[in-house]
C-alpha cells in the first residue's frame, strides 16, 4: 500500500521504526528533542522515547560525535545529528581518526555502528558557511560509508539500513528536499547500502548523479526526450561503497556519460567516477566522460549569484547534447 510522504517524514519514520525495533538506537544532536529538529525530522520522538534516547546536546559537535563513537563501541547504535554538513569541520577527528579506523586498528575486534546524519547543499540563501556540499571529504576516507538519498522512498529505506549497518555511515540529506514528496509504502522495507538505482532507463546517454541533482537529471531527461534523446539516469544513492557495477553497465550500454553533482568540480566525487569509467570501460565509450558540477567557489549570499554556482537543468541538458554532437536547442 503506497502513499505519498515528505522526505522529512520518511526520515522521521525511519528513525522511529528503528528505535522501536532496537532499544540500543538513540538520537543526539542540537535541537533534536524539544524542538523536534531544525528540519522537523525528529518531531514526536522525545515524547515516545524519552530524554535518555532523544538527546538535546550542547553546541559541542566534536564531543557529541565522540559520544556516539564511544557508545557505538560498547554496542549502541547512535544516530548523531550534525545540523549542517559545514559543521563537520568540527567533528573530523572523531569521524576520520576514531570512528572510521576503529575496526581496522583493533584488528577487526571492535566496531562503530554509528550514523552521522547531516544535511548540506545550497539554495536557501544561507551563504558560505551553511550551504556547502562536502561529501568528497568523507568519500575519500577508507572506513566511512557515505549515503545521499534523493527521494523519500530511498531516504527511509537507506536510513534504516544505515542504522543497522555495523560501520560508521555519514548520511547526508539535502536542505531543499525536506518538503519534497514521493511514494513510500507503509509496510516495513529497507534499501541496501552500496546499490545504485537506475531511476530511468535509456540508450543514448547516461546521467549519473545523487541527492537533489538526481531529481534535476530526471527533469533534464524528460526535456531531452522531447528532442528524441533517450536518457538513462543512474542515482548512486550510496557514494561509498560505490556501486561500480551499475555505473559501468550503464556506461557500456550508452557509451556516453555525464556525471552531475552540486559540489565543487575540483576534487569532487565526479572526477573519481569519470576516471573509474575511463579506466574500466574506455573501449565502450563514444565520447569523453564529462562533469557538470558546482563552481569552485564559496557559496554567495545573493540569490542570483547563488543560483549561478549550482548546475541547473539547462547545463545538464547542454552537456548531454554535447556528447551526442547535437546542436544546442534555443
Amino acid at each position: 500500500m503506497s502513499r505519498v510522504i515528505m522526505y522529512r517524514e520518511a526520515l522521521n519514520e525511519a528513525i522511529a521504526e528503528e528505535m522501536r525495533r532496537d532499544r540500543t538506537v538513540f538520537l543526539a544532536g542540537e535541537g533534536v528533542a524539544e524542538r523536534g529538529g531544525s528540519f522537523r525530522t525528529s518531531v514526536g520522538l522525545l515524547d515516545e522515547f524519552g530524554p535518555e534516547r532523544v538527546v538535546d546536546t550542547p553546541i559541542s559537535e566534536a564531543s557529541f560525535t565522540g559520544l556516539g563513537v564511544g557508545a557505538a563501541i560498547v554496542g549502541c547504535r547512535p544516530i548523531i545529528e550534525i545540523l549542517f554538513v559545514d559543521f563537520a569541520t568540527l567533528i573530523m577527528d572523531q569521524l576520520v581518526n576514531q570512528a572510521a579506523k576503529y575496526d581496522f586498528m583493533s584488528g577487526g575486534r571492535g566496531r562503530v555502528p554509528m550514523v552521522v546524519r547531516t544535511q548540506g547543499g545550497s539554495g536557501n540563501g544561507l551563504a558560505a558557511q551553511h550551504s556547502q556540499s562536502l561529501e568528497a571529504w568523507f568519500y575519500h576516507v577508507p572506513g566511512l560509508k557515505v549515503v545521499m538519498p534523493a527521494t523519500p522512498y530511498d531516504a527511509k529505506g537507506l536510513l534504516k539500513s544505515a542504522i543497522r549497518d555495523d560501520d560508521p555511515v555519514v548520511f547526508i540529506e539535502h536542505k531543499l528536499l525536506y518538503m519534497s514528496k514521493g511514494e513510500a509504502p507503509e509496510e516495513e522495507y529497507t534499501v541496501p547500502l552500496g546499490r545504485a538505482d537506475v531511476k530511468r532507463e535509456g540508450n543514448d546517454v547516461t546521467l549519473i548523479s545523487y541527492s537533489r541533482h538526481t531529481l534535476l537529471c530526471l527533469e533534464a531527461a524528460r526535456k531531452l526526450s522531447e528532442e528524441g534523446i533517450d536518457v538513462e539516469v543512474v542515482d548512486l544513492r550510496t557514494l561509498s561503497p560505490l556501486d561500480k557495477e551499475t555505473i559501468l553497465a550503464s556506461a557500456r550500454k550508452t557509451g556516453r556519460v555525464v556525471v552531475v553533482h552540486e559540489a565543487c568540480k575540483q576534487g569532487g566525487v565526479g572526477g573519481d567516477i569519470a576516471a573509474m569509467i575511463m579506466e574500466e570501460a574506455f573501449d565502450y565509450l563514444d565520447a569523453p566522460v564529462v562533469r557538470v558540477a558546482g563552481l569552485d567557489t564559496p557559496i554567495p549570499f545573493n540569490v542570483t549569484l547563488e543560483n549561478a554556482c549550482t548546475p541547473d537543468i539547462k547545463k545538464i541538458c547542454s552537456a548531454a547534447r554535447l556528447l551526442l554532437y547535437r546542436n544546442e536547442v534555443m
Partner: protein
C-alpha cells in the same frame, strides 16, 4: 591490613598491596624491555613509555570491576597491563605481529582489547575523552552500573574536547571517572607555560564536577581516590575527576632524550618520588613484605617478560595476501 592515608574506611588487603607492587614492576620492566627491543630494531615507529607513572594506572585499575571499561592514551602500555592485558600479545602488537592484540594493524598507539574493556590507546591527544563519555552513556542506556574510566593528560586538558566532554558528563551525570595524569609536560612544553592555573582539577569543578588533586606517585592514595570516585560514579553520583601529579622518567617518546627537562627535577621524581621505590619501602616498613619477597616477585616478573618477548618474536608476520583479501571483503558490504 594496611590503612591508606586519606580515608580510613578503605583498606588494602595484603594480597592487593603486593599485587599492586607486582603490577607496577611489570609495567616498569615491560617498558624497559620494549625500549631495548626498539634499540635493537625489533620495534619500529616510536612509542611513549609510561615509565614513572605506573602508580596511576595500577591504583586506578585495582579500584575497578572487571566489566568496567577504560579509554587510554598514546602513553597507554601501563593502562593495558594494569587492566589485565596479556603481556605476550601486547609485545607481539608492539612488534607488529599477527599474534598481537590488533594483529599488527594498530601498534603501540592503537593497542586495544575491546572484549577485555580496554577500548583503545589513541594517537590523538584528547581523542579518547569524548569516546569515554559515550562509553558511559552506553553503559547507562543498557541499564548497567558499569563505569567508564578516561585516562588523559595535562596536554589533553588544553584540547577543546576536554571542556566539551566534562560539560556533557556533568549535565547528564554520566558515570565517568576522569583520570588526569599531570606529568607536567605536553610533548616538550611545560604545563605552567600553557596554563595560568597550576590546579588543573579546578577546570572540572568549574563545570560542576567533583575533583581532587593528589600525588599520583603514591599508589595507595591513587587506589583510595579511585575507589571513592568509582563508587560515586557507580551509584549515579555523577562524574569524578582525579588529577594525579606525576612525571615522565624521560622524553615524550622513546626517541626523545627529554633534554628540556631540568636535571634536578628529573632527579627528584626518579629518586625520592619514584612510585615503585616508595611502595617497596612502604611494604617493607609496614611489615607486609620482606625485601627478599619483593626480589622474588621481581624475578617472576622478569620470567613473564622473557616469555612475552619470546612469544612476540615467534609470532608470525601478518600476511599481505590475507590483508588484501580482508580489504576486498570489507569493500563487499553485503
Amino acid at each position: 591490613m594496611l590503612q591508606v592515608n586519606v580515608n580510613q574506611e578503605i583498606v588494602l588487603s595484603p594480597e592487593k598491596a603486593i599485587e599492586m607492587y607486582r603490577r607496577m614492576m611489570t609495567i616498569r620492566r615491560f617498558e624497559q624491555r620494549s625500549i631495548e627491543l626498539y634499540r635493537e630494531g625489533s620495534i619500529r615507529g616510536y612509542f611513549h613509555p609510561y615509565l614513572g607513572e605506573e602508580a596511576i594506572a595500577v591504583g586506578v585499575c585495582e579500584a575497578l570491576r572487571n566489566d568496567d571499561a577504560i579509554v587510554s592514551t598514546h602513553r597507554g602500555h601501563g593502562h593495558c597491563i594494569a587492566k589485565g592485558m596479556d603481556l605476550g600479545r601486547m609485545m607481539a602488537e608492539l612488534l607488529g605481529r599477527e599474534g598481537g592484540y590488533c594483529r599488527g594493524r594498530g601498534g603501540s598507539m592503537h593497542i586495544a582489547d575491546v572484549s577485555g574493556g580496554v577500548l583503545g590507546a589513541n594517537g590523538i591527544v584528547g581523542g579518547g575523552i569524548p569516546i569515554a563519555i559515550g562509553v558511559a552513556k552506553g553503559f547507562r542506556l543498557f541499564g548497567t552500573d558499569r563505569i567508564a574510566v578516561c585516562f588523559f593528560s595535562d596536554g589533553a586538558s588544553n584540547n577543546g574536547v576536554f571542556a566539551e566532554s566534562i560539560n556533557m558528563a556533568a549535565i547528564w551525570n554520566l558515570p565517568v571517572l576522569f583520570v588526569l595524569e599531570n606529568n607536567h609536560y605536553a610533548v616538550s612544553t611545560r604545563i605552567d607555560e600553557t596554563s595560568m592555573s597550576a590546579a588543573l582539577a579546578d577546570r572540572a569543578t568549574a563545570y560542576g564536577i567533583q575533583a581532587e588533586t593528589i600525588n599520583g606517585n603514591e599508589v595507595d592514595l591513587v587506589y583510595e581516590t579511585a575507589t571513592r570516585g568509582a563508587g560515586l560514579c557507580r551509584k549515579g553520583g555523577g562524574p569524578f575527576l582525579m588529577e594525579c601529579k606525576t612525571y615522565r622518567h624521560g622524553g615524550h617518546h622513546v626517541n626523545d632524550p627529554g633534554s628540556y627537562m631540568p636535571k634536578d627535577e628529573m632527579d627528584f621524581w626518579r629518586g625520592k618520588n619514584d612510585p615503585i621505590d616508595r611502595w617497596r619501602s612502604r611494604l617493607i616498613s609496614s611489615g607486609l613484605a620482606e625485601g627478599e619477597d619483593l626480589n622474588r616477585i621481581d624475578g617472576e616478573v622478569e620470567s613473564l617478560l622473557d616469555e612475552a618477548v619470546e612469544f612476540a618474536k615467534r609470532s608470525p608476520e601478518p600476511s599481505v595476501e590475507e590483508f588484501l583479501a580482508e580489504l576486498e571483503a570489507s569493500r563487499c558490504h553485503e
